[in-house]
Structures are given as C-alpha cells and as structure tokens.
C-alpha cells in the first residue's frame, strides 16, 4: 500500500520537537501510530510532515512523585499495564490498558497518543477520567496542565492546540481504592461498545468517594456524575447500586450505530455499571 508522501523527522529532545513543530505547523506528532496510520491509509489524514516522538527521552518513563504518578506520554499501553507502581497506585489505568485492542496494539500504542487521538470508544480516557488524571502539554508558548475532563472535547477532538504536545499524564494515587474496568468490545474492531471504569473509596462501610467513567457510549468519555452522587456517603447495598447504575447515562446523548443502537447501548451501560459495582463489593 502506498500512502501520500510526507517529510519525516525524529527530534532528539523535547526542545527540538517543539522547535520543529513551530517551524512546520502543519506537521503531526507521531507516537505509536496505531490510530494515525490507519487514518492515513483511509486518506482521512494526509499530514505533510510527521514528527516522530520516539527519540525524545523526556516523554518516557513512569515516576513516583509523592501524591502523583507521572506517566511519560510515550509510555506504551503494555508498560502501563505491567508497571508495578501503576498497578499499586492507579490500578484502573493498568486494567484499562490491558484491555486495549490486542497485544500488537498494546506493544506500540502510547498513552499520550491515545489521549490526543480522543477516540470516543477508547479505553484509557474512561480510566483516566475516573482517576482524575491531568495531562501536561507543551508548545513553543510554554507548558500547561489540564484535566483529562477538560482535554476531551468530542470525537477526535481535544483542547490541544495543533502544535501542542502531551508530555505526560499525572495520576493522583488511588492506593486503597477499589477499582475495576469492564469492557464490552466490538467483535471486529475491539473498541469499546461500552467501557465502564470505577474507582471507589470506602471508609467505615460508607462510600467516601465514587468515580464512574464511561467510554464508547457518547461523543466522548464522561463521568457519570448523577450515579456517583447516588453512591456518595452511602452504605452500599444492592438497591443503591442498581439506582446508581440506572443513572449512568443520565444527561448523555447516547450513540447508536450499526452494531448497537442508542437504546441498547444505554441498557448495556447500565447493566455493565451495575455488575462492575457489584463485583467491587
């Protein structure tokens, strides 16, 4: 297969990368390429230049920063899934990472790339939303931090400027929270028809903090605020869980497609949410 021609550069540092982008504003960042290459093949994208981030050391590595885990943007899904610190302190991110695509995708795809691509059925956004993660982005204009919530605007749309680059994801530690990610994959694409990420913190038999995030269901992954509110402060029983699960799509414009109608997706999201919560009890 032949793709449209492009210029290629592999910067050696973050500064070099940012500078290269400033000089070639139509360029696209290339990380794992798991979404960009298929788009180029389908002629949905034809960037004149690609800046390959694989040589930028600053984008790598997982670090413990006290209350946070710092995940370099070029961290591959397989690394996120296996990393002991992530499994301990932000388990949900590992659980979602190990459900992404298949081994070949997890071996190449990156955390930063997945977030920047903002596929509405991707797994990581749900987990990172539930974990209240934020991203750190840079451009020639400097650095900024924004929450994953603020980052995701819609399908394949983020709050990033075209020249901006995700450098890292910062995840507040959720050590001791009960966490689970349940995914119903599309049988062909492997993307989530519904994916539900849950992190619950209980104290004295009552829910102190509940985070429920859903992917695959709406134009972007979202936090199920009404469902969370039902759980907050409660001693959880079957009835409460069912009530919360019933509200999981509240206020959302639920998507329908050839494989799953909106009505079915809503049902699936509710059932999956309820079962995920039950599984954590």
């Amino acid at each position: 297969m032949t793709l449209a021609a492009f210029a290629y550069q592999r910067p050696r540092s973050l500064a070099e990368a940012v500078e290269a982008m400033a000089e070639a504003p139509d360029a696209r960042w290339l990380s794992g390429g798991m979404s960009l290459l298929p788009m180029m093949k389908l002629e949905l994208a034809a960037p004149p230049a690609l800046l390959d981030l694989s040589g930028v050391e600053d984008l790598r590595g997982i670090r413990d920063e006290g209350d946070f885990l710092h995940i370099g943007a070029m961290t591959r899904h397989v690394e996120l899934a296996r990393d002991p610190a992530v499994r301990r302190d932000a388990h949900l991110a590992s659980l979602a990472a190990e459900r992404i695509g298949d081994p070949q995708v997890r071996n190449r795809g990156t955390v930063g790339g997945s977030l920047a691509h903002a596929d509405p059925a991707a797994d990581l956004p749900a987990a990172l939303l539930a974990l209240d993660a934020e991203v750190e982005a840079v451009s020639a204009r400097g650095r900024r931090a924004l929450s994953v919530q603020d980052l995701l605007l819609g399908p394949m749309m983020t709050a990033l400027e075209p020249d901006e680059l995700i450098v890292a994801i910062r995840i507040p530690k959720h050590t001791g929270h009960r966490q689970a990610y349940t995914k119903v994959p599309h049988p062909a694409s492997g993307y989530a028809v519904v994916g539900v990420a849950v992190a619950i913190h209980e104290e004295g038999g009552r829910v102190r903090q509940a985070a429920i995030a859903v992917t695959g269901v709406a134009l972007k992954a979202f936090r199920a605020a009404r469902a969370e509110a039902v759980l907050a402060g409660q001693a959880v029983d079957q009835e409460v869980l069912a009530e919360a699960a019933g509200l999981v799509c509240d206020g959302q414009d639920v998507l329908g497609d050839v494989y799953a109608s909106a009505a079915y997706r809503r049902q699936l999201a509710q059932v999956v949410t309820r079962r995920t919560l039950e599984g954590l009890r």
Partner: protein
Amino acid sequence: MVATEERVAITLAVNGRDEQVSVEPRWLLSDVLRRECGLKGVHVGCEHGVCGACTVLLDGEPIRSCLMFAVQAVGHQLTTVEALGTADHLDPVQQAFWEAHGLQCGFCTPGMVLTARALLDRNPNPDEETIRETLSGNLCRCTGYQFIVDAVLLAAAKRAEDAEQGA
C-alpha cells in the same frame, strides 16, 4: 519541512543482521521487509491493522509491520519468521505448529508463530485462555484456532523439556 518522495538511507537490524536500505519515509515496514529485504514471510493480509498476518517482533514483542513506517524501526531489533528456524532446524514453536496441525493455508502462520513465540518468551507456561486472548490479534480463517492453541501448549511443553535437558 515539505512532503517528500526522496529516499533516506537507513539501517534496519533485521534477524541479527544490519540491512542498509534506502526508503521513502512513507514506506511501510511490511513493504520494506518484503520488497527491500526479500523477507516474503512477512504477509500482508489487510493493511488496516486488524489481521495480524504482517506481525513481526520488534525488540522481541509482536507488532504489526503494516502499522509502522520503516523509518520508525531504526534502532530496534526486528525478527521475522525467516529467523526463527529453517526446515532442518525448526524453532520449537514451529515444530509444534507442524506436529499439532496449527496451519492450513499458511498465510496467517508466520504472524501466528511469532506472536506465540513472544508469548512463550514472556510466559513459558500459559493457560489456554491466555493463549486465546494473546492470539486474538491474529486472524486465521482456516483452522478454527483450536489446533493453533494446541500447538502453543505443545510448544510450551517442548521448550520446558529442552530447558530441562539443557540444565
């Protein structure tokens, strides 16, 4: 930076050898391995990142060579099926695929064998569910997968046996 059809000289570390190739940045790794390196065991089945026939090992881990530009592979170790074994000296995984009838038309086989090999390198004793999950990025239309799963189980046993004898 402007889009270019000009070639760049790169060195790919393929099957333990350094291959000097001159490529356009847009050339896919799968095409370069097949066309420039003559490694026809890299099969191109869908080119949209699903079927897994083009699977090769990058630093020992399975990846789809149709979802990567050749220029991205610089600095990595690539392994294709050609390096696993020859008919006289098969890798235990290949031997197991043969004995357990893990192939029919053979088109998905190089990718399957490489994915299986990487799995066993990481997890020498996988259960059936793990094997099925791991092989789900490689499509096979002929076998119904069962003999492939059996082949991976057999390969695990063979490798354990080999390791014992080596020890």
